[in-house]
Symmetry: C2
DNA sequence: ACTTTCAATAACGTATACTTAAACTTAAAT
DNA sequence: ATTTAAGTTTAAGTATACGTTATTGAAAGT
């Protein structure tokens, strides 16, 4: 059984169709899926009972899933009001981007400073190529996937499972905003350039440069998105 | 009721002795306390039942606490083996320090780039002074507390609650190691210097310098601790 | 002795039952 | 009419009950 990450979703592959998935786990991934796809829109609230019924299981595993989602910052659990899908404000965006920026710029520096495998390098360059192709075809959906893959792969290659888990978690937190703003923002030509530049810096083993480019890239992205939110009076998405 | 963080412990202050604390919450903080103080040593294992009895409550809130601790990386929960306090390897230390370094160096940069309040600045300088005093008196316990306070305060001042929660979590993960190595390492004169230098860079509004000093400071600390662990064949603490 | 099979045990996952107290209703009083 | 107080409802927190299945230990076979 393996896990593949696609756009923040943990997709489970059943190789030996043996292990049955515990209800608590099912509840967690199903709820998370519903939140990320906006099936459960921000602000919507549900009592334990309601969720349990919707998932056709008892409150016990439901509750466990809710606790986990709350820890991840996707929902809020208030004692007699159930679980509420948290909206994201510009301030939240700034915080989350601040964390992702810190982690990913560090990751870029780590890659520049280590012996990166040929395969690893290829996976990065493939992601950038995919981004270019997607942009040529004006295929924004493919572009997000490739972009996501690039950022994720960079952290994967550092070998830090903790760092990977963190960026995954925080990317999930702002997934909704990224998707809704995707068609409102200018075409991301600059992003592709930046990514190529990061790869170049990694290849040149220039640690500081790799960090700086990645940091700047993220800071620009955050600035643009937050500006977009404010201009469109989307104070909480 | 307020929370004060001292050395990774969330100490609850009962001001209006009104709100009763849910068992799940009690279980969480009590178990966490026991793990951080080494009352539950690394590697030790406990069944849900045993923990529930020790805390004189049922398995339900106990289980909830275990899930949360597992999410934080302090314990591991394996289906029929109960909860096991996770040991920390040099590789774990490297990962955790990698994350703290990324976050705190970013935090230092943020402080240098923003209008820091007079109070905020004072709190940082006070922590450095406390570190000096502690070192003069050869009082390592006070030194750790002041050091902890400095690092924590830096993140507090950025205003990012998410970043604060992260560094708290990861600091907790390596708390044991820091405490056991405290008396094995050379006197931390260099740390105090570094901290002063960071404050100076923040005052000078030199963003890059603040980041660089903080990063270097942490990287040196990590290197030293990991070396110490390896030299003393402490492969998992 | 060492491995393998099978049965007994018990730990976990989940459901359900119970208790408490917050939130809502209704009624009374100003 | 607005606030206050009492009563009712019900969601959450916790305990307990139950079924399933991994683990363990003994017995049988090599």
């Amino acid at each position: 059984m393996g896990l593949i990450h696609v756009m923040g979703f943990a997709v489970t592959i059943h190789e030996n169709e043996k292990a049955r998935i515990p209800f608590a786990e099912q509840a967690y991934s199903e709820l998370k899926r519903q939140i990320l796809t906006n099936e459960l829109p921000h602000g919507s609230q549900f009592l334990e009972q309601e969720i349990a019924e919707q998932l056709s299981m008892s409150r016990t595993p439901t509750r466990e899933a809710m606790v986990r989602l709350a820890n991840e910052g996707l929902v809020e659990v208030r004692p007699r009001h159930g679980m509420r899908v948290l909206p994201i404000s510009p301030k939240d965006m700034a915080e989350v981007y601040g964390i992702i920026t810190a982690l990913e710029s560090s990751a870029a520096g780590i890659l520049a400073g280590m012996d990166l495998s040929e395969d690893g390098l290829q996976s990065l360059m493939k992601a950038v190529d995919d981004m270019d192709t997607a942009l040529e075809h004006d295929d924004l959906n493919s572009w997000v996937i490739a972009d996501y893959e690039f950022h994720r792969q960079m952290v994967v290659l550092t070998g830090s499972v903790r760092m990977l888990q963190l960026v995954d978690t925080f990317r999930d937190q702002i997934h909704r905003v990224r998707m809704t703003t995707l068609h409102m923002r200018p075409k991301p030509y600059k992003s592709n350039e930046d990514h190529r530049a990061v790869v170049a810096a990694i290849l040149a083993r220039d640690v500081k440069k790799a960090r700086d480019i990645q940091r700047n890239h993220q800071e620009m992205a955050a600035k643009m998105l937050i500006k977009l939110l404010n201009e469109n009076h989307m104070t909480h998405i």
